[in-house]
């Protein structure tokens, strides 16, 4: 049974059985289908033929790594030089870009319960976190030596205690930056831009 043009000998429309299979209801047979060999054969055949489409539906590909970066590079044009902080010890010196700190801060903040979405943006070298807030930046990070100042702008869930949320974000972000980079977050500024339903 591969054609959906003609009725089955039992009188049922093949198109209806195709829809039943495509809707994932091939096993949900009505009383007639439970006793009808024609319907059962057709349903089984359509189910077999539909397997490749099911495979496509079940396939959840991720966008290739670098797709966003490449597109954003083309939007940005030539990227400006990032600002770097550095950690030195007896084994050598590690340079950490402000962009890395911002990305980390955004990631940490966005995982705090009550935060709906948090943003990030690179500030030019020498741009202080507070002055750069004019115009509404998201996460901005100023780094100098082994110190950093992070400012986060976010939308919160409606109903959150925003003061408590700010405290939680400050704690999570400061601890995370300290642990991951070795930089000392001397300030974490939290700006709640909106609350969302």
């Amino acid at each position: 049974m591969t054609s959906t043009d003609a009725r089955l000998p039992c009188g049922r429309e093949p198109d209806a059985l195709v829809a039943q299979v495509a809707d994932g209801a091939g096993d949900h047979r009505d009383a007639h289908q439970r006793d009808c060999p024609y319907c059962q054969a057709a349903l089984a055949e359509f189910d077999r033929l539909w397997a490749p489409v099911r495979a496509v539906a079940d396939h959840r590909p991720r966008a290739p790594e670098g797709l966003l970066d490449e597109a954003m590079r083309r939007i940005r044009g030539v990227a400006s030089d990032p600002d770097f902080g550095s950690i030195s010890d007896v084994r050598g010196r590690t340079r950490i870009s402000a962009q890395a700190v911002e990305s980390l801060a955004r990631h940490l903040a966005s995982r705090v319960p009550g935060v709906r979405v948090a943003l990030s943006r690179l500030v030019a070298a020498g741009g202080g976190a507070e002055t750069s807030l004019i115009g509404g930046p998201e996460v901005t990070a100023g780094v100098a030596g082994s110190s950093t100042v992070v400012s986060i702008t976010l939308a919160a869930d409606l109903g959150e205690d925003l003061i408590a949320l700010g405290d939680r974000i400050r704690a999570v972000v400061a601890d995370g930056i300290r642990a991951s980079t070795g930089l000392e977050p001397v300030a974490v500024l939290v700006h709640v831009d909106d609350v969302l339903l």
Partner: protein, 195 residues
């Protein structure tokens, strides 16, 4: 695979599809003010969806990659024309689908010429995509007529309701239903040799 074309409740739709229209709206508002950071976040949230639709519409990863990049670049300027009257994802589906259709139309002439010189060999998708079923499915879907393919991708594969798909394609729900039924019948016929 859930039954396509049904009408999910708002909470269910958001949870199952990983959508957050309110957050999208907030981000879009900031993008329209020229905020690149908001745009990066918006794209980060939707990049897998963009790529997935492109792959399902076009049938191979190389074309899907090209179209996804084009869409990300196009959206940056196109968002100024997004009126906000529909959900961002609805508008995004329309942008990606149209881009895929244009990509395919642009390729057709080129492919017809190239095929004459280069007999069929396994393309990159054969190396990248595991599974014969998956490859057979993508191949069959990419061979559908445009209108059937769009309805099938939106409703059957992406799980949009008939109403949502009708909004994306600027047609009626009845049209979407009819095209989906024809797409299913066509696929059944095309897959008759599938074992």
């Amino acid at each position: 695979m859930s039954a396509p074309g049904r009408e999910p409740g708002p909470g269910e739709a958001r949870a199952s599809a990983g959508l957050d229209e309110e957050a999208d709206r907030w981000l879009v508002g900031r993008v329209r003010d020229g905020d690149r950071g908001a745009y990066e976040e918006l794209v980060r949230r939707h990049r897998d969806r963009i790529y997935r639709i492109a792959l399902r519409m076009l049938g191979n990863p190389a074309d899907a990659d090209d179209v996804a990049q084009e869409v990300v670049i196009q959206l940056w300027t196109a968002l100024t024309g997004f009126g906000g009257t529909s959900a961002f994802t609805t508008w995004l589906y329309r942008v990606v689908v149209n881009r895929c259709l244009n990509h395919r139309r642009g390729q057709r002439t080129h492919d017809e010429l190239a095929d004459a010189d280069h007999p069929g060999v396994p393309g990159p998708e054969r190396r990248v995509l595991a599974g014969e079923e998956l490859q057979a499915g993508l191949r069959a879907i990419s061979g559908l007529p445009e209108d059937q393919r769009v309805s099938l991708v939106l409703v059957q594969l992406e799980g949009l309701s008939y109403r949502e798909a009708a909004t994306v394609t600027k047609t009626s729900e009845a049209t979407v239903r009819g095209r989906l039924a024809r797409a299913r019948a066509t696929l059944m016929s095309e897959m008759k040799d599938w074992t």
